[in-house]
């Protein structure tokens, strides 16, 4: 799964993000997004956007799962349907976005990790944050789940929430 997320990292992006190994003791955020298995006649994996809202600050997109590998970049046509993310951050971005664009994911628990100070998440100043997960499905619905947390996190802290239709349980945990 991590492989598909990183698959479109280019040489330039590798250079820009610097060393791929995290500095010793760097704080890592593990996110689990449960994509529900739905009994529908026509099922498409949802587009999912994951972003971080610092209290009073600018939203940062961390990851977008979409049909990034379609001919002529056609999969970007429906990015705007992930509508709160599109307004908060997506509409100002170029796609594919290095280190952010990834393939859509199958139903089940999907994991992704972000390490503070590395890649799209960048450095996190102490303060309040909300991690937002929004899913929009072709010929289906849309749902958004918000996970507020304080930075730096307390050891062993977890944050969880759940959607009702397009997202199942979504949880965050933190590790060094």
């Amino acid at each position: 799964m991590q492989l598909s997320h990183h698959i479109i990292l280019t040489g330039a992006a590798l250079g820009a993000t610097g060393a791929l190994t995290a500095p010793a003791g760097a704080q890592t955020i593990d996110l689990t997004v449960n994509i529900p298995r739905l009994k529908v006649a026509e099922y498409h994996r949802p587009y999912v956007a994951i972003w971080l809202e610092p209290a009073g600050g600018t939203a940062r997109t961390l990851s977008v799962w979409y049909d990034y590998d379609m001919k002529d970049n056609e999969g970007t046509k429906w990015l705007r349907d992930v509508r709160q993310w599109w307004r908060a951050s997506g509409r100002g971005m170029k796609f594919p976005a290095d280190g952010i664009s990834g393939a859509t994911r199958a139903p089940g628990p999907q994991k992704i990790s972000f390490t503070a100070g590395r890649g799209a998440i960048g450095k996190l100043a102490p303060g309040q944050y909300t991690l937002v997960v929004e899913a929009a499905r072709e010929v289906g619905g849309r749902e958004l789940v918000r996970l507020p947390f304080a930075w730096p996190p307390k050891p062993g802290q977890t944050v969880s929430a759940a959607g009702k239709a397009e997202l199942g349980a979504v949880s965050l945990s933190f590790r060094k």
Partner: protein, 282 residues
């Protein structure tokens, strides 16, 4: 019977000559969407004149004067144009990122003069430029009323931009305080309206949500621009809204048929503005 028919024709001719055509009908353009992502983006637009919004069931909107401008200000073509019984349609290929403007601004000059004791109307299609030629020698008591009717849409690929809102300083124009492609239900949006380039104070602003056919009430919001030409609109729900701003019309209620439209009752400058705005769900 014949007499009745003649009278009917006369009445029709009279009402056709009234200075406020299609008062009861609303003209509108409806875009397929106003917010776009992607690299090869097209918007398709329906354009019509009808009572109810947004149903094409009366007349097509003529596309002769409709144009489109890209975010960099350059004019871009209307493609796949067609005018059918009840509606016109066209597409615009949105090649650039940013906000496009699509619309028309029609100028009309109406008026009258007195020649040999008889009041004559200025011919249809008279403009400021042809006015001198349209008035014969010896005419007196020349009255004119100039009107500019603007009908515009805004659509955005990616991040909204503001370059295409540079005012032409003619008729009523919208200047965004809130960008018209950044509207969300439950939030207030503020727009400034200009009349001939200056803030248009005290103009009536009418806001009607689409979908009229499926409800009992019009749910019309009647607002007014402030001294600075600004108006704030809080969107009650997501959907497409028809927004109309006009210079106030003279009272028509108690005047006799025909007399109400006499040029003497007409203000010298009239203007109207129509747009369709899309409000997203939060």
């Amino acid at each position: 019977m014949k007499k009745l028919l003649v009278r009917t024709i006369a009445a029709v001719a009279l009402s056709a000559s009234l200075a406020t055509p299609a008062l009861a009908h609303r003209q509108w353009m409806l875009p397929s969407a106003t917010t776009f992502s992607g690299d090869d983006v097209w918007v398709t637009v329906d354009a019509a004149v009808s009572n109810d919004l947004f149903y094409f069931e009366h007349r097509p909107l003529r596309l002769d004067n409709v144009k489109a401008w890209a975010p960099d200000g350059s004019e871009v073509p209307l493609e796949h144009q067609s005018t059918a019984q009840y509606r016109s349609t066209f597409d615009v290929h949105l090649v650039q990122k940013g906000t496009y403007r699509i619309g028309s601004a029609n100028d009309m000059l109406m008026g009258s003069y007195v020649l040999n004791g008889k009041t004559e109307r200025l011919p249809r299609g008279t403009t400021k430029e042809t006015l001198a030629k349209a008035i014969p020698a010896g005419a007196t008591n020349v009255q004119t009323s100039e009107s500019t009717n603007r009908n515009e849409l805004y659509v955005t690929v990616g991040e909204p931009t503001a370059a295409i809102f540079k005012p032409a300083s003619k008729g009523i124009e919208l200047v965004p305080v809130t960008h018209p492609n950044d509207l969300v239900a439950g939030e207030a949006a503020t727009f400034q309206f200009l009349l001939d380039g200056k803030p248009a104070a005290d103009l009536p602003v009418t806001v009607i949500p689409g979908g009229i056919r499926y409800r009992d009430q019009l749910n019309q919001m009647d607002l007014k621009t402030g001294a600075d030409g600004k108006v704030s609109i809080t969107w009650p729900a997501a959907g497409m809204y028809w927004v109309n701003v006009t210079t106030p019309r003279p009272a028509r209620g108690n005047a006799e048929e025909g007399k109400a439209s006499a040029p003497t009752a007409m203000p010298a400058r009239r203007a109207s503005y129509v747009t369709t705005l899309e409000v997203m769900a939060p």
